[in-house]
């Protein structure tokens, strides 16, 4: 029972932490699905934009799998104070929609997030703010090239600072309300990206296909499995090691169960000897013990599974905090790898997984009693009775 709980729980933790890392990396900013001009990836110039955002948005309306969408225009700008100028990403977003598809709003650390009436308000990465020596309320200028290639420049007031803990991102990005962005950057109805979030992540490939079908052919949709392939691969590597570890656990648990099964059968050799003496066949003994093992196994696996399933469920809602792992700064560690620094490890509550694992444990339980029974049936009833 204990082992079932352990087994289910450990694999839930491992799956859960991977999902967590992927999920937070995706949700921090990149998003689950992105629509761009098909030529944008190879040549991210103003020649390859989404030139009719309205139309693209309208064509998305009929698709059931899409929960929310938000439009972005990402470009490069030079940010300047009177002392310093630093290059970085300059991005127009729809503040309300953006909040539904990424954690940009939730990453606020000072001041306020943007809203759709804002004009010269800038939402700036904390690290970039440090580099520019500015704080909330200060003025910062940008110069950039507008979508029509004219010059774009304006003074912006810093409305809020964000920190996603993705160092590179915090160190190079800033956002303004897209309605304002469109006036200075001459980008009405133009965007670089439309980010979508799916209703059901498990169905994302199907949804991606559906979206592609309704889009005009110069546009292209990709989901996070393509855009964040590196991360997914990295998680796979980690999974490989996770499964090796799990495999070892599994073997040890198998032995422990085998030992107990062995002991419990042997403890009853005499009893079985008597049963045999009064005429029960070896088959009968075997099936009797198997049924017993099955009942016992089911009960213990049931309890173990229930306990750990509850655990997995509970910790999915209330992730385990790992912030206090000795002198080890997990946050630092994850940030360095440009992973999202979530110091919590939620488990992945996945009922079908848990059931499969419970079934494996039950099967193991039964397998382990077979050998001792066979061994025992070799004894003659009289030997068994005298067995000490």
């Amino acid at each position: 029972m204990f082992s079932t709980a352990l087994f289910v729980f450990v694999s839930a933790i491992s799956d859960g932490s991977h999902k967590q890392i992927i999920r937070s990396s995706v949700e921090i900013y990149p998003g689950y699905m992105e629509i761009t001009n098909a030529a944008f990836e190879d040549d991210p110039s103003f020649e390859n934009l989404i030139f009719d955002v309205q139309k693209a948005k309208e064509s998305l309306q009929g698709i059931d799998g899409v929960q929310a969408s938000s439009v972005r225009f990402e470009t490069y700008a030079l940010y300047a104070t009177s002392e310093k100028s630093v290059g970085g990403m300059f991005c127009g977003i729809e503040p309300e929609n953006e909040a539904k598809i990424s954690r940009l709003k939730a990453s606020l650390v000072a001041g306020e997030y943007l809203n759709s009436d804002d004009t010269n308000a800038l939402y700036l990465g904390e690290e970039l703010a440090k580099r520019l020596h500015v704080k909330v309320g200060d003025t910062l200028s940008f110069i950039s090239t507008a979508a029509d290639y004219s010059f774009a420049a304006d003074n912006l007031i810093i409305k809020g600072l964000f920190k996603t803990k993705l160092y590179e991102f915090d160190n190079s990005s800033a956002f303004v309300n897209k309605a304002y962005f469109d006036t200075v950057m001459k980008s009405q109805n133009i965007a670089t990206h439309i980010i979508l979030s799916p209703k059901d992540i498990e169905q994302i490939d199907a949804t991606t296909l559906l979206v592609q079908q309704v889009l005009s052919k110069e546009l292209e949709v990709k989901n996070y499995k393509e855009t964040m392939e590196d991360l997914i691969l990295a998680m796979e590597v980690d999974s490989v090691f996770g499964y090796i570890t799990l495999g070892i656990f599994f073997i040890v648990i198998f032995f422990v169960i085998a030992i107990f099964a062995f002991l419990s059968v042997y403890a009853r050799i005499r009893q079985i000897g008597i049963l045999r003496a009064i005429g029960t066949t070896p088959r009968g003994v075997m099936s009797m013990i198997l049924v017993e093992a099955m009942i016992l196994g089911t009960i213990s696996v049931g309890i173990g599974g229930a306990v750990s399933a509850y655990g997995a469920y509970y910790f999915e809602k209330n992730p385990i905090e790992l912030s206090s792992m000795g002198d080890l700064d997990m946050e630092e560690y994850m940030t360095q790898y440009n992973m999202v620094a979530e110091i919590t490890f939620p488990t992945d509550f996945n009922p079908s997984n848990i059931l499969i694992q419970m079934f494996i444990m039950l099967l193991l339980n039964i397998v382990t009693v077979i050998y001792p029974i066979i061994m025992m049936n070799r004894f003659t009833p009289t030997e068994a009775i005298r067995y000490v």
């Binding site: 204990f2 082992s3 352990l6 450990v10 590196d230 691969l233 990295a234 796979e236 590597v237 490989v240 090691f241 090796i244 570890t245 495999g247 070892i248 656990f249 073997i251 040890v252 648990i253 032995f255 422990v256 085998a258 030992i259 107990f260 062995f262 002991l263 042997y266 403890a267 792992m325 000795g326 002198d327 080890l328 700064d329 997990m330 630092e332 560690y333 940030t335 360095q336 790898y337 001792p372 061994m375 000490v388």
Partner: protein, 413 residues
Amino acid sequence: MFKNLELLYFKMALLHLFRRRGRSILISLMIAISLIGLLLMEGMYEGMMLQLTQNSIKTGSGTLVIEDKKLRADPNIKYNIKETQTLASILDKEPLVSSYVLRISQKGLISTAGFSQGVSVSGVDLKEEAKHSEFQNYITSGEYSFGARERGAIIGYRLAKKLKVDIGKKVIVTMQDVNNEVVSVALKVSAIIKTNNIAIDANGLLMDINLLRSLTMLHGATEISVLLKNRDDDLLVKQSLEQKITDSNIAVYSYKELYPSLHESEAFMQTFSQISSAFIFIVATLGIFGVVLVSVLERVREFGIMMAIGTQFRDIVRLIIYESLLITMSGYLLGAVIGGSLLWYFSIYGLDLSGFSDAFSIFGMDSNIKATIKQEYFTSSFLSVLFATIAATIIPIRTLKKRNPIESIQERV
């Protein structure tokens, strides 16, 4: 007499184990197999981490790096090391230093007729680097040379792919000199490298240090990369160097300061494998516990008789402990031998995980992982097994004591 008695218990323990050989074998197998697994896991993890660290240290900045104090906060090559001679003579005398090289690092722009992007330019001396970073081992195509006129460039494979350039092609590198003036140079790609160090593979360009000196009008170097005979002496050597370097503008950093993530992932991996081992030993203890408990309980009468004929209770305890230790230690021996030899095999031939190589290189790892073997794997697991055994016998012994073996003789079973 005493010795004989000891031997007697030992023999009794052995005999009993033989009588119950099924469960004895199970227990030793369990311990052996979990030990093999643990050893492999630990060896592989550490091997992987070691590769990662060494790779980053060698192809990166070295175990220690000496540079101007201001360079890190404001990466402008005007903060460079002018008195390289003085530092070199200090380093020459440092006994724990195995090698050092001068380098110039500068950010720039690399362009072809069709494409341009940012690049990290490193001015290096290939002869010196051959003994230091051993870049020659990472060449995937081309020659480890800057050509007869030192106008060659060695570039990272990802960068080459992005620029769509191959060996012999020309690239233009534009950067700022010490006076912030923009300077350009044409270089011919002489080799492409894959170091698994993402900074170099995706953005790195190596060129001749003297050419870069004349281009940037910088006479010394921006950094001195130092490798030590033993990586763990980093702080010791750092202190010693700091004392000897009189120039207050110069700072010495250890790789642990430069790549805190590396150091931390080592610690993280270690913690992770420690937790896993603890887990496994707890489960194994449970198994041992079961066997010991049963073997004690089924012999309560036997022990009662022994006590009735004058055996002390602590001798019975000793007998039980002997028995348990005998099984677990035989399991330990088996596991240590098999696990050790597997590790030894992997430490020489490595475990090829190239199916995931793309993902590995993201983390700066080689896909062929070579295990490490450390004596402490064996000693620590030995102690764990010992501890698990003793922990597993405590409860059965206490139960036995409560049962009062002498009285139990009269029990009818």
